[in-house]
């Protein structure tokens, strides 16, 4: 479980996404993954990695004299953190108004809605 109060910033999320996809990359490998998408300088990526390590979100292990970075929390854990922080900031922590908002404003395809209904009914049965 994430020990609360760990904040992952916008830019840091980009880094984390890469490392959840491929844990254990080196700084350079992370940079390569990002260069296509982002306009980040290699130095910038290194800064992010260090900060994330300092925050305790990443672990750096030396392999062949190079640091390899690995997330210490799962994507789901971090999503949970970010979500509840967002939820309390914007919706005072109330789930259903938030869901209602998203369902109302989102461009859900028929398929998306079917999926959601499936999930809902599944959870209806369970509790």
């Amino acid at each position: 479980m994430m020990s609360k109060q760990i904040q992952i910033s916008d830019a840091e999320w980009q880094i984390m996404k890469v490392l959840w996809q491929a844990p254990g990359l080196t700084a350079n490998e992370v940079t390569e993954q990002l260069v296509d998408l982002q306009e980040w300088h290699a130095k910038t990526v290194r800064t992010m990695l260090s900060r994330l390590q300092k925050k305790g979100v990443l672990e750096a292990t030396v392999v062949d004299k190079l640091y390899r970075y690995t997330p210490l929390f799962t994507r789901d854990e971090c999503i949970g953190e970010a979500s509840s922080s967002f939820l309390s900031r914007v919706f005072d922590g109330a789930f259903s108004p938030m869901l209602a908002h998203f369902v109302k404003t989102s461009p859900l395809s028929k398929k998306d809605r079917a999926e959601l209904e499936r999930i809902l009914s599944k959870y209806n049965k369970e509790n």
Copy 2:
């Protein structure tokens, strides 16, 4: 419509919530509303109000020699902004994974779920 790139911080959201509830309050009135909930100093509230005004989120009009603050955007507009920013940061902008996450992890009551299903089916009919 909010002109994008307006960011409302955590603390600022607290202020905004008060003013959406009761537009046109003075700084002191806002402070009063918040003192029960938050531990904010009156000076802090004033700083927030000024910043929000500077950001163009609030408008300050002088009434009887006192500033009265009014939101320039509706709550829904700001929710929309915050949501899409959250959505793109955490879920790469993909709605249904986000919804699925929330539905799975949220402690929805039977009533909440019923409400959601109602909304879903309503939107199913519409498009």
